[in-house]
């Protein structure tokens, strides 16, 4: 295979941290050689050149499953050539600017401006400024309105694309929902656009964008006008544009293509393992959790398909660890069968299974004993709230009895490290709820020594880690209207907890406040934030997802200069006002979210989708858990 060296001198590469980030050459990376030959000969190609852009460093981007899935889908198609690009760290950013070298793709080192389309994945709000950094370093005009027929189409997808309003000025297109089918439909439109350039009637960029609006799930921000007087209003510029953008999903995950030969980084990355995606969606419906609502309905892959994909993944990557990926692995209907099947496939290969998001019970404890290479590492629980009352409010369906019976089993089995995850600042939270966290930790501590006394065993030192993150009201959840606590209030609660949880066995870890304060602005923001983000970026702010490089006071100052305050975004939203994201449908109705909010304040829980259909609206997709249940019921009725 021909190699494409980075456009940098050796001394430049040697002067930065982890130069291997910038040189490509990974196993399973795809280069379409026929395209490169065509380009070399004629300077043109009929391929749609797609740059999949990850707005954070290489090691994080290469751990992202969406990147691997869409890279595979795009390169599988006969008319698209997809390459990857990542945010260069500050050291490399400086070199690229000083030497006027354009940010380039990993595979063929092509400058970003030479691609037909750039696709950014927006996994978290704090990466927005890195989108601007990458476009800027790729010499692409940042504002969509400044780009013309010579510039690439700039699109995005991922969880933050559902409320892309703060970034609407910069993107030509946002993709709502699962991308496997939509992204190819989009590329077909771009293919037509590209082919028309050589005809007598070349399509304009505006025409292309109109054509793209016809694809379900695709949002073209420039085709909507906005007003923000007493609530947000985003509406189509004319009748030719769809008024509501409905997210896309994949109906059948078994037949949907999945990357069983993903790109394997040469450099060790954040999650250095292969991924087997088990199902999408979540049956639970925790009211704070955006993922729990935007990925509905639950759709599982079959055991047979998963085992075959697992076998291929192990063989094609050489990774010695495979992670089962989903929002709650234990909720997979055939979990025991799957786990045992994979373990027997890996027998003698020294491959381990990584099982995040497991609900602890005797089965999972047994399984963890079997799969963990380093024995007796931590047990993880996410009660999220300290009292049953507050857990009912957030619909976190974990009962204290379950935690304690699982822990008793675990402690008897010799485990001695427990991690507990909570949120501070949840709706209706009182000091009693905060102190409930300390109380829970202390009672777990007591249980450990009780088990020691009962069994007469010498126990190792117990380590309990209590972590708190901060509640952030997110769009498309029942808590989308809720206010966020002020920073002062959060700090007070944190101290309250800290002062009441002193023990040599308990360690308290907390999340940075500043970034949570800003995250709510971006998460619930609207188009008025575009100029704020642009000014912040121009002032040198990016890598905001990295706490050391995030400066809340600077951002707040810029926000204020543009006539807005943080409180405008952190306040309680009125149930009557139109929300900035109301023109987007994730399939869960606003009415349902509202009723869930009301139930939360009444401290009433909602059963899981598997127990009972609560009528959220996701059944309209005609597939998945809720739908399967109905079919069974209908059959039984006959």
């Amino acid at each position: 295979m021909k190699s494409y060296p980075a456009p940098l001198s050796k001394s430049d590469l040697m002067s930065v941290e982890s130069p291997a980030r910038y040189v490509g050459g990974e196993f399973n990376a795809v280069i379409k050689e026929d395209m490169m030959e065509e380009l070399e000969k004629t300077g043109k190609t009929s391929y749609v050149r797609f740059a999949f852009c990850f707005p954070d460093i290489y090691e994080i981007g290469m751990s992202n499953l969406a990147l691997q899935i869409l890279y595979h889908v795009l390169n599988e198609s006969a008319f698209v050539a997809c390459e990857r690009a990542f945010s260069p760290w500050f050291d490399m950013d400086k070199i690229l600017r000083e030497k006027d070298i354009l940010l380039y793709s990993q595979e063929t080192k092509t400058p970003l401006c030479d691609f037909d389309i750039l696709g950014f994945t927006l996994g978290y709000e704090m990466c927005y400024t890195n989108v601007l950094q990458m476009m800027d370093l790729g010499k692409i005009p940042l504002l969509a309105k400044d780009r013309d027929e010579d510039d690439p189409i700039i699109c995005c997808g991922g969880p933050c694309a559902y409320n892309v309003e703060p970034m609407a000025d910069f993107f030509d297109i946002a993709m709502m929902g699962e991308g496997e089918e939509m992204i190819l439909e989009l590329c077909e439109k771009i293919h037509e656009y590209k082919q028309s350039k050589d005809t007598d009637h070349p399509m304009t960029r505006a025409e292309l964008l109109r054509n793209c609006d016809a694809i379900e799930g695709i949002y073209v921000p420039s085709l909507y006008e906005v007003s923000y007087h007493g609530g947000a209003l985003v509406r189509p510029v004319d009748d030719g544009v769809k008024p509501v953008i409905k997210k896309r999903i994949i109906s059948d995950l078994d037949t949907c293509t999945y990357p069983t030969a993903p790109v394997v980084s040469n450099l060790r990355v954040v999650h250095d393992r292969s991924y087997l995606e088990v199902f999408r969606g979540c049956i639970r419906g925790c009211r704070f959790c955006q993922a729990g609502f935007i990925y509905r309905p639950v759709r599982e892959k079959s055991v047979d398909v998963l085992c075959e994909q697992g076998r291929l993944l192990e063989k094609n990557t050489g990774y010695d660890e495979m992670g089962l990926l989903s929002l709650a692995t234990s909720d997979y209907t055939h979990f025991p069968e799957l786990a045992e099947n994979l373990l027997s496939t890996f027998e003698g290969h020294h491959t381990s299974l990584s099982l995040p998001s497991l609900r602890l019970d005797s089965f999972s404890l047994d399984l963890m004993e079997k799969v963990q290479s380093t024995r007796k590492s931590g047990l993880t629980f996410a009660p999220e709230a300290g009292t049953q009352r507050l857990r009912d409010v957030i619909n976190k369906n974990i009962k204290e009895e379950d935690i304690f019976s699982a822990l008793r089993l675990a402690f008897m089995g010799g485990w001695s490290t427990v991690k507990l995850y909570f949120m501070l600042g949840l709706p209706t939270e009182t000091d009693e709820d905060v102190l409930g966290i300390a109380d829970l930790a202390k009672r777990i501590e007591k249980l450990y020594y009780d088990v020691g006394r009962e069994t007469g065993r010498k126990m190792r030192k117990l380590e309990i880690t209590v972590s708190t993150s901060l509640f952030i009201p997110k769009p498309f959840t029942p808590f989308q209207w809720e206010p966020q606590n002020t920073k002062e209030e959060l700090i007070r609660k944190q101290h309250l907890l800290k002062d009441n949880m002193r023990s040599r066995n308990i360690r308290y870890a907390w999340h940075d406040f500043d970034s949570s304060v800003w995250e709510v602005v971006l998460a619930r923001g609207d188009r008025r934030l575009g100029p704020v983000l642009l000014e912040g970026y121009r002032a040198g702010h990016f890598f905001d997802a990295w706490d050391d490089h995030f400066h809340l006071s600077d951002w707040e100052e810029i926000l204020n200069r543009h006539g807005m305050t943080i409180d405008e975004f952190a306040r309680e939203f009125s149930e009557e006002e139109t929300l900035p994201w109301d023109h987007v449908s994730v399939g869960v109705s606003k009415k349902f979210l509202l009723s869930e909010r009301h139930k939360a304040h009444e401290e009433k829980t909602t059963p899981s989708c598997r127990e009972h259909c609560s009528g959220c609206g996701a059944a309209s997709f005609g597939v998945g858990e809720c739908f399967a249940k109905r079919e069974v019921k209908a059959d039984a009725a006959e």
Binding site: M1, S3, P5, S9, K10, S11, L13, M14, S15, P19, A20, Y22, V23, G24, G25, E26, F27, V264, N266, L267, R268, K315, N316, T317, G318, Y319, D320, H349, H350, S373, T374, R375
Partner: protein, 251 residues
């Protein structure tokens, strides 16, 4: 894991019969920018993709039994480095080479391999000397100058501390058959676990004492062209070095 810890781990395990492939490999292109730990991981994953019957170390965290003759630092190309791979069964070296090459990332290549009796001496312990080729404008003259000096004191950072060290005794000789290209030079230097000199320190001495500018020295292309055993100048390429069989020492 440190190379030394790895060595300890590899040799202290309860013994199992191993069929060792001694493979010579090269590295160029993108993989030149990998650190040694990442490089080892690349070979481990390639061997796993090739589904070779690799032996694993024992213990909590079993690792494939692969031992590299000498760490290859970031930025150094190689035309002849070595590793020993322990397999469960005898394996045809040509097939081993083909299978590995099918599964290695671009830039890493096994040039040849041979099955050797299980060695008593770790491949790491027999390396004494390496040859390097430096390519940069005017580097032959600078290197000739370096060889004429009594001392070459450079600053080395070890365990977070700066340390002054004289690398002159570690530069052995300029290779005679290396041609007369003024912009390239090949030479012998001490290498291995006892005495070792890093190429970047040699380059920094050239810019400190021998009239090369720093940018040129920093941009020099560095290629490791050979690894040898034995006491200089009586040295032998690693794959021509006689092997003391492990089994001769077990009884």
């Amino acid at each position: 894991m440190l190379q030394s810890e790895r060595e300890k781990m590899m040799t202290l395990q309860p013994h199992q019969k191993a069929y060792v492939q001694r493979a010579c490999f090269s590295r160029e292109g993108a993989t030149v920018y990998l650190g040694h730990l990442d490089l080892m991981t690349c070979f481990e994953r390639a061997a796993r993709r090739a589904e070779l019957p690799i032996l694993y170390s024992q213990g909590y965290n079993p690792r494939p039994m692969m031992v590299f003759a000498l760490p290859l630092g970031v930025g150094i190309e190689s035309r002849s480095d070595y590793l020993d791979v322990s397999l469960e069964v005898p394996y045809d070296p040509v097939l081993f080479t083909e299978e590995m090459n099918r599964c290695l990332p671009e830039g890493l290549q096994i040039l040849r391999s041979k099955q050797i009796p299980e060695p008593k001496d770790s491949i790491m312990s027999i390396v004494t000397t390496a040859t390097y080729r430096f390519e940069a404008t005017g580097i032959r003259e600078a290197m000739n100058d370096a060889m004429k000096r009594e001392t070459l004191i450079v600053t080395k950072i070890a365990k977070g501390k700066e340390k002054q060290t004289d690398i002159r005794p570690l530069l052995l000789s300029i290779k005679k058959d290396g041609g007369e290209d003024p912009d390239a030079v090949e030479f012998f230097a001490s290498a291995g676990s006892e005495k070792n000199v890093r190429p970047d320190l040699i380059l920094s001495s050239l810019s400190l004492y021998c009239g090369m500018d720093k940018e040129t020295a920093d941009s020099a292309r560095v290629i490791r062209t050979g690894l040898f055993s034995g006491k200089y100048p009586k040295i032998l390429p690693i794959d021509e070095t006689p092997i003391r069989k492990f089994e001769d020492f077990t009884n």
